[in-house]
């Protein structure tokens, strides 16, 4: 480790980004940080593909008649939007980009436990993603992202098997990542990094990985059965020869309901990092927040039947599922209350990441509370398969997860690139996203309540005003998604250096250089302090010229010790 120090002194400019600049050095890398960047580029690509589909069908929905798209094209577009956004953006977004990049840094490891498996998971992801895109180019699929039988197994005339294959392939990538994270978090924590010193981001990643590992295979087998049914014309889900279409829904939602927690837990982890940093306070109720992640992950497996309240499922099972679904509100509320308690009497700095985090808390709360409405059997029967559902889960997925993802990207951008983006543009953009989002999706609650069903390309005239509002909001939201692309890339090229720790954050990941060197730390950190050890009382920072400035010159400096000799 002594040689490491010397290297540091001599070679200060080497980091993971410029340590090998050829395409080959990127495509064959096993460095978790580079793989995180590869994922970031790929999911951004998929995000804009899925977004383009949304633009098209929101345009169609400006008028009550089907004047732009045929019904078939409309069906294919919303299926494309759902499939791409769920499996190729939301699920990999935070885990595979920020999780890959940050877990080893946060726990003081040199890399993930299986670096080559990590790279393989990216290749599998790309194979699955590009295969699915190919399917869409040759004609697409019109079953929706849910592939409900018997439509998907017996009647659909589109490329169901091929689309399912793309998702099936992608599942291996999810499993590989989850497995890698679990082993890493169990075995590669730095000396002193006990479980209850882990940042909450790592706790949520652990909970997310459990879901990825335990739920994904059930989706795989459900999709495989559809393929088998279509190829061999057997009747696993076909009522005409003794099958039960609902069995598919059971299997599908056994994966897909926990999977919606893959799409929100990581966002909660990001927010748990951002809030203490910009409130300059330790996170309130650390243990409860950590345990609530595991509770959400486990309870999430017991509630899938609330997607099937009107499907013909037994009403008694519906009752059980309804009750269990309400239970999920408890750990979710624990998180929200603890974030707000952290804000209470904090010294709050409204920097870009914090704006996104605050947006997350508000929007997730709306999404979560409407979720309780939907878990209520009687209410669900009124709004089932209407725009109310669409609004509900977009409040969680987009208002929650995408906000958290953007917040996380802004928060750790200096860590990833060593550069600082334009703070003013960042804040404006957070505002644009927040306003655009609410304009796009709040009217959909009303539409759904009034009875406009989802997945139709035409609707009665009286709903037009809400649809126009929604489309307008979507356009504003689009601006909010394209803008960061430009100012973040600009900052990477021309931005000013951020320094090692521009937010004066207290996580172990900030002990490494920004951007970090190839194997993360010059010296393996020894962790002898709790997570979020922000000074417990009083503001330690003031805002000066838009920057956090320490109030006293001697900030508690952290000692970096080598593990050798301990």
């Amino acid at each position: 480790m002594k040689s490491g120090m010397m290297e540091h002194a001599l070679n200060n400019d080497t980091n993971y980004l410029n340590d090998g600049t050829t395409l080959r050095s990127w495509l064959l890398t096993t460095d978790h940080k580079r793989i995180g960047i590869l994922y970031m580029l790929s999911i951004t690509f998929f995000f804009f593909i899925g977004g383009a589909a949304a633009v098209l069908f929101r345009l169609e929905l400006m008028t009550p008649r089907g004047d732009m798209l045929s019904p078939d094209a409309y069906n294919k577009l919303f299926s494309l939007h759902g499939i791409v956004m769920v499996w190729f953006f939301l699920i990999p977004a935070v885990p595979n980009v920020l999780g890959n990049f940050l877990i080893p840094l946060m726990i003081g490891a040199r890399d993930l436990a299986f670096p080559r498996l990590n790279l393989a998971s990216w290749y599998i992801f790309m194979a699955g993603g590009l295969f699915t895109l190919l399917v869409i180019i040759i004609g697409g699929v019109d079953t929706g992202w849910t592939f409900y039988t018997p439509y998907s197994s017996t009647y659909a005339n589109t490329y169901v098997i091929l689309a399912a294959t793309g998702i099936f392939i992608n599942g291996f990538s999810s499993i590989a990542t989850g497995l890698n994270f679990i082993v890493t978090i169990h075995l590669l924590r730095a000396p002193g990094m006990i479980w209850f010193r882990l940042p909450l981001f790592v706790w949520t990643m652990y909970a997310t990985s459990l879901i990825m590992v335990l739920a994904t295979p059930v989706l795989a087998v459900a999709l495989a059965l559809i393929a088998v049914e279509r190829i061999f014309h057997v009747g696993i889900f076909d009522p005409a020869i003794g099958g039960d279409p609902l069995l598919f829904q059971h299997l599908f939602w056994f994966y897909s309901h926990p999977a919606v927690y893959i799409m929100i837990l990581p966002g909660m982890g990001v927010v748990s990092e951002i809030v203490p940093c910009f409130a300059r306070k330790p996170l309130f109720g650390y243990t409860f927040v950590a345990m609530s992640s595991l509770a959400i992950a486990s309870l999430g497996f017991l509630v899938w039947g609330h997607h099937m309240f009107v499907s013909g499922q037994s009403v008694y099972a519906g009752l059980i599922f309804s009750l269990l679904s309400m239970l999920v509100a408890i750990p979710s509320a624990i998180k929200v209350f603890n974030w707000t308690a952290t804000l209470y009497k904090g010294t709050i700095f409204l920097k870009t990441p914090m704006l996104y985090a605050l947006g997350f808390i508000g929007l997730f709360t709306i999404g979560g509370l409407t979720g309780i409405c939907l878990a209520t059997l009687a209410f669900d029967i009124h709004v089932h398969d209407t725009y109310f559902i669409i609004a509900h889960f977009h409040y969680v997925m987009v208002g929650g997860m995408v906000m958290a993802y953007l917040g996380g990207i802004h928060f750790w951008w200096p860590k990833m690139t060593g550069k600082m983006y334009n703070e003013w543009l960042g804040r404006i953009n957070a505002l644009i996203v927040f306003l655009g989002f609410n304009l796009a999706f709040f009217p959909q609650f009303i539409l759904g309540y009034l009875g406009n069903p989802r997945r139709y390309h035409v609707y009665p005239d009286e709903f037009q005003v809400f649809h126009v509002m929604s489309s307008l909001g979507a356009s504003i939201l689009g601006v909010g998604y394209v803008l960061p692309l430009f100012y973040l890339i600009w900052s990477y090229k021309f931005g000013r250096s951020s320094g090692q720790n521009p937010w004066h954050a207290r996580g172990v990941e900030w002990e490494a250089a920004s951007p970090p060197i190839k194997h993360n730390f010059y010296e393996v950190p020894v962790v002898d302090y709790p997570a979020y050890d922000y000074p417990p009382a009083g503001p330690d920072f003031t805002m000066s010229e838009g920057e956090l400035e320490p109030t006293s010159p001697e900030q508690p400096q952290r000692r970096i010790t080598s593990s050798h000799g301990t």
Binding site: L246, L247, H250, M308, Y316, A317
Partner: protein, 108 residues
Amino acid sequence: MSHSAELKPLFYNFAALMVLLAITIGMSYVDLGAFNLFVALLIAGIKTFLVALIFMNLRSTSNVSRLAAVGGLLWLGFALILTAADYHSRGWNEAQAHDLIEVEQARP
């Protein structure tokens, strides 16, 4: 080999598995009604336990690995129990029995 004594558990385990195999075949010829399934699954469970404990070395592996094994089974249990909650109380079978033929006839 000096360590042949430590191989003994493997052979004992194998012998036990063969005996259980014989029992499970034998029991299938005895009509116990619904208990046949129970007995068959119980024996399969014991065999699985033996394979996991001795052959797969779960007796001397880390607790986390044991947790992974138990977790997989527990989660399968969640899937089975909650799915059963639906089918057991739906009354599908009775309805199915006479509807099926109509569905078949209605098909083009």
